[in-house]
């Protein structure tokens, strides 16, 4: 198992270096002179040239990337904001808990709705419940979360006045964003749980369990669920990463001061180091979550564990 974990961590490194390269390249090709942007409109030509030299902007691309990568991977130095001169890493770190909580509550919503509904749907295939659940799942996948967020604000805060429409300070503030960000994942998990469960309950060992007179609830909850959930765990992991990305939109809708909103504002102000840092930071978290899921997968699926013994 240790071999498996070690291998997965080793595989992560080149991916992260690749991500940093892509993100750096994207920001490098962005039009506009970072030195001029930092100095503002009143800066003279000499000042700009001086700062360009100071920032190393005249160096070849690969040298600049090397410097950036060295900073990121050895000292977690993501550079400084062009606008406020604050350390990008610190800015991201202060907002990270908000984004992480948002994504995590979204995943919780998704899991608590998706798994039970998926199980019931599978055990009562083609029933009214199943059909209704599948319809809702399809709508859930189809509704853009920024639109859903606006509708939620309209209904529950503007018309009903039950929840605040923006901010993220109290649990009351968290409900609408969590439901908004979690809906499409809930739909996805419902569909995945259902199809995985349907596959499992048709297998011989389930028939055996039933044949020996086991109670149906035990057959489903103990025998079938364990195996049916294996692929669902992967989906949950992927959804978590997806929600970290989706947080950008949800944070914009609800004006939540997380990494997503910071990035959107930074893009508008051409504060490139902040955008670069934000993408890299989320990609890093996403990769770590995936790593964690892969390792977890190794623990819950003996077949994978066996490969690495």
């Amino acid at each position: 198992m240790l071999k498996y974990i070690g291998r997965r961590i080793l595989l992560l490194l080149p991916v992260l270096i690749g991500v940093s390269f892509i993100v750096f390249t994207l920001m490098y090709i962005t039009p506009g002179d970072p030195a001029a942007m930092q100095l503002g409109e009143q800066a003279t030509e000499t000042q700009i040239l001086q700062l360009r030299e100071q920032m190393g902007l005249d160096d070849p691309f690969i040298v600049q990337y090397g410097r950036f990568a060295k900073g990121v991977f050895t000292e977690l130095d993501f550079g400084r904001s062009y606008r406020t001169n604050a350390l990008v890493f610190n800015e991201l770190l202060t907002r990270f808990p908000t984004t992480l909580t948002l994504a995590a509550t979204g995943v919780l919503v998704a899991v608590f709705i998706g798994i039970p509904v998926g199980i019931i749907s599978a055990t009562k295939q083609y029933s009214l419940f199943d059909n209704a659940a599948m319809m809702f799942a399809l709508i859930g996948v189809s509704i853009p979360n920024f639109f859903q967020g606006l509708v939620a604000i309209l209904i529950f805060s503007v018309w009903a006045g039950w929840f605040p429409s923006s901010g993220y300070s109290t649990p009351m503030h968290m409900i609408l964003p969590a439901l908004t960000i979690g809906t499409s994942s809930a739909a996805m998990i419902t569909r995945m749980t259902r199809s995985s469960m349907l596959e499992v309950i048709r297998q011989d060992y389930i028939r055996t369990a039933r044949a020996k007179g086991q109670k149906e609830s035990k057959v489903i909850n103990q025998h079938a669920l364990k195996n049916a959930l294996i692929p669902v765990v992967t989906v949950i992991g992927l959804q978590f990463g997806y929600l970290l990305g989706g947080a950008v939109l949800t944070e914009t809708v609800f004006s939540i001061n997380g990494i997503g909103l910071l990035m959107v504002n930074s893009i508008k102000m051409r504060d490139l180091p902040m955008v670069q840092g934000g993408v890299l930071f989320i990609a890093l978290t996403f990769s770590l979550v995936n790593l964690f899921v892969d390792i977890l997968y190794g623990f819950i699926d003996p077949r994978i564990k066996a490969q690495y013994k």
Binding site: G18, P31, S142, P144, L150, Y242
Partner: protein, 342 residues
């Protein structure tokens, strides 16, 4: 007496043996017959089948194209039909937008701003007094363009990369797939945002951003399909008659792995439209006054308290489009590969 008895016994035994032998023969014959009739049926359709053998199920494969079969299965699926109708309505709306929309998408009626839906303005008007119905109608053109072109870009680039990767394998496969892993390590919408931030806002840039962000998915699917087909006999046959690699990939392999590509493509158009709308919503995509649904929602956000119609109608338009494409995509998946049906 005793000899009589013995004779009878012997007779009995012999009869029994004969019966057993006869049974064996019939059993053996049956097997042979069964085998023969099966092979006959396979090789010569229309032969008379012996009635006592249950071989009615084995019928010669009908000479019908695979796509006709798929179409037959698809039109049996009510959900897929519903999806097709939605897409058809969308396409017709986009084509005949000039006839359907009562006003131009830029026509402003400044004395008539933010009016609720009424007989003149079915979906109400926005902050510039523009007719929202007309804007939603014209918006279908933008969404269809973005969706199909972005997916087209992703499919072509991803398809080429995936084919090369799967067909040649080895080092080149490793390089391409690791690159795809890197792209997949960034959540799709975030990658699109980063690309759009670098390229700047605009219709073409949105298509590029969304397209690039979905390349890895197509590359992976095509690679997997190519890998599974590469060593098949028909490919070997093509090699033997001297077809070059390009011809083998385009004429022999790709046509055989269209099923997953089509399914992913349909669902991909939905995702592309969604991503493009998302980009426009945060101000990185298509810019006003172009009536993109996501951009319309972005403006509507500010006025949500007193002009709900500004948000609801463009939002519903996105939702129905995605819904239709998802229904069709699911239907296509079931029709193209019935084994996958849950």
């Amino acid at each position: 007496m005793s000899s009589n008895k013995e004779n009878e016994k012997n007779k009995d035994l012999m009869e029994r043996e004969d019966k057993l032998k006869a049974k064996e023969v019939t059993g053996h014959e049956a097997v042979v017959k069964n085998y023969q009739s099966q092979t006959e049926i396979q090789s010569r359709p229309g032969d008379v089948k012996p009635k006592d053998l249950d071989i009615k199920k084995i019928e010669p494969a009908k000479r019908k194209s695979q796509w006709a079969e798929v179409w037959k299965r698809l039109i049996k699926n009510k959900a897929a039909i519903a999806g097709m109708i939605v897409i058809l309505i969308l396409l017709l709306t986009a084509i005949f937008a000039d006839f359907i929309a009562p006003y131009g998408y830029e026509t402003q009626f400044l004395d008539n701003t933010r009016t609720a839906p009424n007989a003149d303005n079915w979906f109400g008007t926005d902050n510039f007094g523009r007719d929202i119905f007309s804007r939603v109608v014209y918006g279908s053109r933008i969404s269809i363009q973005v969706g199909f072109i972005a997916v087209g870009v992703a499919m072509v680039v991803g398809g080429i990369l995936g084919s090369i990767s799967g067909y040649y394998s080895g080092r080149i496969d490793n390089v391409i797939m690791r690159l795809m892993d890197v792209l997949l390590a960034i959540p799709g919408i975030l990658l699109a945002i980063a690309i759009a931030a670098a390229l700047g806002p605009g219709l073409v840039n949105v298509m590029i951003a969304v397209g690039i962000a979905s390349i890895p998915r197509y590359a992976r699917i095509v690679r997997a399909s190519v890998l599974s087909l590469r060593d098949q006999e028909f490919v070997e046959a093509a090699k033997a008659v001297g077809a070059n690699d390009f011809r083998i990939i385009t004429k022999y392999i790709l046509p055989n792995c269209m099923a997953p590509i089509i399914v992913q493509g349909t669902l991909g158009v939905a995702e592309a439209i969604l991503s493009a709308a998302g980009l426009s919503f945060i101000g990185l995509g298509i810019q006003p006054p172009i009536p993109e649904w996501g951009a319309m929602l972005s403006t509507a956000r500010i006025y949500i308290r007193d002009a709900w119609w500004m948000a609801i109608f463009p939002g519903l338009a996105i939702m129905f489009t995605i819904f239709g494409l998802n229904l069709l995509g699911d239907g296509l998946r079931d029709a193209l590969d019935p084994r996958l049906k849950g």
